[in-house]
Symmetry: none
Subunit: 200 residues, 4 copies
DNA sequence: GATGAATGAGTATTCATTCAT
DNA sequence: AATGAATGAATACTCATTCAT
């Protein structure tokens, strides 16, 4: 869609399709974070995004699809950021610290997005399983590697510990970004690291 | 109908009322556990309990009140059971182990109830805060006591660690009772204990 | 039902059937006056009367029957009182004044009852017609008699004037008893009399 | 589609919206007149207007809002019509006669609307006060002016008389339009005028 | 007669989704 | 692409009335 093309249109489209989509996603993220999936109507998301109700369905099959999209693209970004953060670090402890710090940074920069993912009161529309399950296998694999290297006690069940770590990180950080005066950023990071098994 | 007889038994209508109430609570617990607060209609709860729709409202102001009642009476029972479980134990590690074992036992005996409390996908109707916040202060206090006794590293922020412990226990056990083949009971208990700070 | 009869009953009825009925009527009158027929539930009437919900239906077929009973027994009493009030008075003006004064006295003594009959906002449950129609024929007859006696201008249509007089008296007095500071009793009576055709 | 054309016509959807709204108001007026506020369901109004149930709530917050809208816009029109009718008339008697005639004409032309406003059996949903109170102050003021001019006996309390006049006109005309064979239009007008204080 | 728990039809209201413009 | 009015199924909640005790 060239500039000249948009020029000849008699009624200039106020914004591009991609822009409209982005605006819908942003509006929905904010609303989901504060009111939950069921607490928000598609009409309200559209209004908040400055578009008509029907436009919503030009971009998303339904409300659940938008929710899924927000959640999984956030998870993808989060994964990528933490992957980059630990890139090149060999020491397990350094990796854990870097990953935790990156998680906290992400949460600070994308407060509402993080609350949609892990906030308390978030009704995950039946996708809570998918969300956490997409995180834990990687953690479990890492723990198994450590265990094989003799760096973890054999009594620690990898899958169980992975659930524990995922729960701990997600809930603690969600609790903290909800009200950052509850602790300093460093206290959050330090405490989470020390509770991680590799830090024993 | 002797005097002693009338002493022990409630009046006929009263017995019926209490019975109806209990049936509603049980039906609702099962349904909430599988479909969440919003996934269940008051009519369905009533039907499942074998009573008419209107009867629901004879016992509860609305669906949220029933949900609150289920959640908080479960929490109260859980609190009492864990309190009793650690009674008389002086060693911090023994306390942690006893508490964890009791939590797991409760979850096994009250699978659906536990899933309502801590299940993933549970939309706690804006009471997630209340639920976990009713648990964490006690944990934080215990941690502070340990820290003063020099049994915990000072870098561990009590409130943060309390959130982490609560999250870890509740989510891991909920994940496990959802499908108990995921690990053995002992693996769950052992892993949770070893991740607890006092077990370092 | 003799005294001895009520003596032999093993469980003394807390109150007589007639008493229960009276209590229901009184409670209903007060509630209807303030909240209207639809604004009051049969359960609330029973509770206010200090009896169980089911007792209501032991005395009245349904809510409408109770309403009708209240309305028509009030009308009967009102008719009788005004009949007595003008008894022996020959002068038309004296009769009008006596009737008006009696109406005002009745309204003062039975505020809520009067409001049920004529209050604004009273939803008469489809019996507004019956109520006023039970009053107007008498008024119309009296007007016709006066007209024949040449005491009223022939341009005054008796049935129309009767409606006007009934409306005027009922609404004005209802308006006044709603808040008696709006005028003095004498001002109400005097004004109503002067607006009556026989007072020209 | 010329500019002038687009000036006069509303946009297509807007026209449709206004049309739907009008249809709802008309359907509701007829239904309220015959069955009263409580006797009519929002679904029935919608069906009678030829739209879906939900459409009702696109135009009105609830049934009461629609009722209020009907009542107060009718009152506004009535006020304006009677204001115009007496415009330029100086003689009090002529004013009274013109106003009464206009009221009767309005009632004939808007039978159902008039019955909603003043019909017997109309449960005005707690707005009876507002309706009549919006009419009486003007009447009372006019009476006070006459009284100061010595055209009315001082015994006539203006506020009381205003209530009486409003009640008399509204009820008599409602009674008449309910069944116009009860009297001729002229008999109604003549009788009401003669009962008005300025006609003495 | 009285009780009060239970009934279930009835109603208001919401909201995801569609579709003519 | 966008609009926004319309749809109508879904649901929470009420309350007149019944009936077993």
């Amino acid at each position: 869609m060239s500039v000249s093309e948009s020029r000849i249109r008699t009624t200039a489209p106020a914004r591009s399709r991609a822009d409209t989509r982005r605006r819908l996603i942003e509006a929905a993220t904010d609303l989901f974070a504060s009111d939950g999936l069921h607490g928000v109507t598609s009409a309200r998301i559209a209004a908040e995004a400055g578009v008509a109700t029907g436009t919503f369905y030009l971009h998303f099959k339904d409300k659940a699809e938008l929710f899924r999209e927000i959640v999984f693209s956030a998870l993808a970004e989060l994964s990528e950021r933490t992957r980059v953060a630990i890139d090149g670090l060999d020491d397990p402890r350094s990796q854990v610290r870097a990953r935790t710090a990156e998680l906290v940074a992400f949460a600070e920069e994308n407060r509402n997005l993080f609350l949609v993912l892990f906030g308390r009161g978030t009704e995950s529309a039946g996708m809570g399983d998918e969300v956490l399950d997409s995180l834990t296998p990687g953690i479990a694999d890492a723990l198994r590697a450590r265990a094989r290297a003799g760096q973890l006690p054999p009594e620690l069940h990898p899958a169980v510990a992975a659930q524990a770590i995922a729960a701990m990180h997600s809930r603690v950080i969600a609790w903290w970004v909800e009200d950052p005066t509850r602790a300093t950023r460093d206290e959050v990071i330090e405490t989470l690291c020390r509770m991680h098994p590799v830090h024993r």
